[in-house]
Structure formats: C-alpha cells, structure tokens
Amino acid sequence: MAVASGSGSVPSIRRRLLLFLLPPLAALMLVGVLVNYGAAMLFVQSAYDQRLGDAAVSLGASVLVVDGRLQAAAAAPTGARHADHLVTLRYAILGPDGAVLAGTPGLPTAPVSLTANPSFADAVVGGERLRVASYRLRTTAGTAVIDVAESAAARAVPARFILAGTWLTDFIQLDVTLFIVWLGVHYGLKPLRALRAQIEAGSARELKPLDVTAVPAEVAPLVAALNMLFDILAEAARSQRRFVADTAHQLRTPIAGLLGNLELLMQEPSAAGLQPRLQGLHEGMSRLAHSANQLLALARADPSASLTVQFEEVDLRLLAGRVVERNFDRAAKAGLDLGADAAAAAVRGAPRLLEDLLGNLVDNALSYTSRGGSVTVRSGFSGGRAFLEVEDDGPGIPEGERLKVRERFYRLPGSGGHGCGLGLAIVEEIARAHGAQLYIESGAAGRGTRARVSFALTA
C-alpha cells in the first residue's frame, strides 16, 4: 500500500518557500535597480556637469574690461570650445545689466548658488530640455554671467545604458538567487524524501518503526509520533491475535468433545435406529465446526489482527504440496482427482495465512465439483509475479457473480452444501494483506473455475 503520491508534501514546501521568497526578492531587486541607477546617474550627472562648468569657466577668458565696460572678445566662437563630438553646447555671456555680450540670446541662467560657482539648473527652452551651467565672473566693471547649456537628451544615452545594464544584472541575480534557493530546498528536503521512500517500501501491514536518526530535527517529532502510532497499532493487532487464539481454544475444544462423542455414539449398536437423527446432528456439528474455523480464519486475516504479523520466505511449491496432501483423502472419498502441478516459487508472507488462503481455494473446489471431476493446485511464476492457483472442472462461477462471491457470507444462489460463504472473503483479505490480487476465471476449455492469487512484482 503506497502513501498517496502526486502533490505530496515535498513539492508543496518548495513551492511555498519560493512563493514566499519571490515578492520580497522582487521588491529588493526593484529597490536595487533604483538605487544602482540613482547612484550611477548621480555620478554621470556630476561628470557631465563638471565638463559643462569647465566650459563656462574657460569662456570667462573671453571677457574683457574695456573702458570700464565689459566686452566679449572679438572672435568669440558661437560653436563649442571644449565640446566633444556628440554634444553641441550653446553659450551666452551676459553683462551686469543682463545685456547679451556674446552668444545665443534667450539662454536661461541658473540661479546663484551659495556653495558653487558655476551653479547648475535644468530648464526648458522652446520645448527642449536643457542643462545650464552659469559662471559668475567678478570683474572691475561688474559681474558677468557666462551661461553654457547642453541638451538633456545628451545624458539620456548613458542613462538608458546604465538602466538597461542594472536591470539585466539585477534580474540575473534574482533568477540565480531563486535557482540557488530551489536547489537548496531540494537538498534540504532530501531526508524527507528518504523518509517517504522508507514508509512506502516497508509494507503498510508490517509497520516497521522508522529511523528517527536519519531525519532532520524539525521532522524528528513527527517521525517519533508516527512510530508511537505504529506501536499502538501493532500492540492492538497483537492483542487481537491473542484474542483470536484464545477464542479458537474456547470454541474448538467443546466442539471437539461434542463431535467425538457423537461419532462414538453413532457407532453404538443400540443407536442403530437413531442413525438418521444422529447423522443429522453430526452434519450440524460439522457445519458448526466449519463455521467456527472459517470465522477464526477470517478474524486472523483481518487487518486488525494481521497488521505486523511476521513475514518470512514461503515456498509456494511446498505449500501446494502440503495442501494437496492434507486434502487427498477427502478428495478420494468424494471421487475427485486432486493433484498438484507446482513449479518453484517463493514469496514473503505469513505462512499460516497463506495456508488458510490456499486451503480455502481447494476447499471450494472440492466442495462444488461433482464426482469424477478433477482439481489441480498450481504454483509458479507468470509475468514476473509469483502465483498460487486452483483449477477445477466443476460448475464454474458465472461471470456476473465473480465479484459478489468475494463478499462475506455470500453464497451462489442454488449452491447446496454446508458452506458459510466466507471462503473467498478470507482469500481476498489474505491476498490484500500480502499485496496480492485474486482473479476468478473460467477453467480450461471454458469449464469450471480457475482461481488465481497473483502476488506483487518483486522489487
């Protein structure tokens, strides 16, 4: 019996962890991008501003004082002085009264700054965004203002580049982090997978205690609780088995006494006239004995008692031989040809229960096959699975009834005899306890019944 697989606990913890980590990590990534971008852009800004400011300062050399008035040098270029090829600078030199001494009129002026000269400002002129550096030059004829401006778009290129780069690295970082977390969880949960394998490997019927030392501290209390539960179940099963054994004794001894004395009574010459009545009594007692045995067998096979029963290597061929030998005389008396066709096969199982199983199948075949028929017990391997099988050429079980006959106390309509209807229920229960399957089919040539118990594939 396998523990339910599919969405087991292992993937779910992993998913939970990943879902838990994803938002904060994504948020961190976002913040990281912003911070990195902001820091990088600050640096870029200051570098560009520095250059702009230097251009403004160097233009100061073109300011002359002539006759107490400010003048810009004659051939002041309208183009850039220290421009680089990518950027076009515009400049304007203003006198103390604001008059344009040279350059492009209409350029904005950055406000005075207490800490820096030149000072800087952003401005919009004619729909275009500009960065302006304004240098204030003190002269004997007053303060001249030199404005140098460049398009803000010039800074966009490095800005985009930096932004893209930051996004990329942070995104890769996020993915790698998540991957490492995924790997880490996978590795961390390995002991749980081993635990799960341990549970699934040990037959659910055997309830072997789990190894507490092999699991991490967080799961150890869970495993300890499971082991305690196993103990309780095992003890309950042991106690049930004891009860069944005691019941067996309490039932069988009185029945043996009654049957024995009845048989002796029937042999008394003085009982000659009472034979039919005594015969009836004997049949009733035999039926009672049979029912008691079947009920005890069912109780033994029931999980409440069969849990944790010791499994051993059982030689199916020897088992088949024993059961045939045990039933040979009964078969001979009923005029039936009982034989074996047993190939070597072995399974792990409970010997007593498997004897009950095969015994019941043979019992059915002998009870319902009429004089002159034959019953064969087989063992062997088929398709990698060990099997036990009983085939007879009796009346057979109609297809529609093949499921119902396995129910407790169900007997085929019209079947005479003394059965109590538990035989196949017992077989089913024992098969289940061994992880085996009972198949009921027609016998050879479509006649009779072939009941086969197929055991699980050996791992």
Partner: protein, 222 residues
C-alpha cells in the same frame, strides 16, 4: 498397546478414551501434566496423547520434561490453537505429531497407529502395516504371514513408501531409492515398479498416486 490420554476437558477425554479403546488400544487418562508425569513414570505406555491446554503446567511443558529425562515415548499433541508457532514449538520440543481440534476419530486412530508403528520400527526394525509385516534390516515382506518375494528395486520402492506410510513420497525420492541399482533409468521407471508392487501387494495395502506429487502407501481395507 497402552495409550495415556492427557486431557482436562471431560467431553474430549471421553471421546478420546472410548474411541481409542474401540480401536483396540488400552487407554488410561490423566487430567493434568503433573498426574500424567506421575503415571508415565509409574507404568509403561506405548504412546501419549497430550492436549496442550492443561490446567497448570501445559502439555508442551510435559513434553519438555519427558524429553529432558530421556524418555523416548511417542507423543501426539492435541490443540485447539492453530498458530504455526505452536506446531513448530511442539515438534521442536520433541513431540512426534500434531493434531488440531476438532478432529475425526479415524484421523486420530490412524496417527496413533503410525506413531506406534514408527516406534516399533526403531525398536525392532519391524514395520507392521495392517496385513503387511516388513522386516527392514532383513529386507523381507510377509502378507498375512506368507512371505512375498520382491526384486531389489521393488524392495527399494516398498521400503521408502512403507517408512513414510500415510505420507506422500515424491517421485524424485523414489527415483533416488532405485537409482543405486541401475545406471540408466527410463523416465517411467518409478511408475513401472510401483505398478508391479501394486500387483504383489494386491488388497493388503494400497499405493495411491497423488498427481504431481508422488505416491502414498496406506493399509488396505481391513
């Protein structure tokens, strides 16, 4: 032949005593292991039929005690408990056979006869099976007192079957028994000798063929 029945349940003890009595045995009974131990040390018995469920000390402890004292008396264990463990324990302790309650009278009688027969064989080398008298070391067979001649191979088959009378002997086992006499065996060799033996034994004994398993020798109808 004297049998001691050790059983505390009145009804079962009655059935055992009367049943075995009718089968020709002289039967005494005890209702406890202690009483049985006393009876066994005081008198000679050929077989003890011991129920496991006795009042104080159980039947198994009685067997243990007997074997501990070196008593080789054959013991048949009766029990209502059917765990394989009890069966194995009983045989391990030295019981010779095991019968579960409730049982048929004939089964009980047949088992008792088989046990006594085995004990006699160990003692005297002679096996008595109804009308058959087999002298094992002497390798001779008598039916109703009349000697019957058997060939070497027929004897090998008979000996093997008779030593396990009432139990199935596999074809392989019989083949091994014959093999000493002949290098090459036809596959049907066992069949042939069994059928010859059947002819010579006639009604005195029955050799049943158990299909797929082997053969079984039983006493003939009385």
């Amino acid at each position: 032949m004297r049998i001691l029945v050790v059983e505390d349940d009145e009804l079962v003890a009655d059935a055992l005593t009367i049943g075995l009595g009718r089968a020709g045995f002289a039967v005494d009974r005890s209702a406890s292991a202690e009483a049985a131990a006393a009876a066994l040390s005081a008198e000679h018995f050929d077989l003890a039929v011991v129920d496991v469920g006795l009042p104080r000390a159980d039947g198994l402890s009685l067997v243990r005690q007997l074997r501990g004292r070196g008593v080789t008396l054959p013991v048949l264990i009766l029990t209502a408990r059917d765990t394989l463990a009890v069966r194995v324990e009983a045989l391990d302790l030295g019981a010779d056979d095991f019968l579960q309650k409730p049982f048929a009278q004939e089964e009980l009688v047949a088992r008792c006869r088989a046990l006594i027969r085995r004990a006699n064989l160990h003692a005297s080398g002679e096996l008595v099976l109804g009308r058959l008298r087999i002298d094992v070391p002497g390798r001779s067979l008598a039916i109703d007192g009349q000697a019957v001649t058997l060939t070497g191979r027929e004897w090998a088959v008979l000996e093997c079957l008779a030593l396990h009378a009432g139990r199935v002997v596999s074809k392989e086992r019989l083949q091994q028994a014959i093999a000493g006499f002949e290098q090459v065996l036809t596959p049907n060799a066992v069949e042939v000798y069994v059928s010859r033996l059947r002819g010579k034994l006639a009604e005195a004994a029955a050799i049943h063929t158990v299909r797929g398993l082997g053969y079984r020798l039983d006493e003939g109808a009385a």
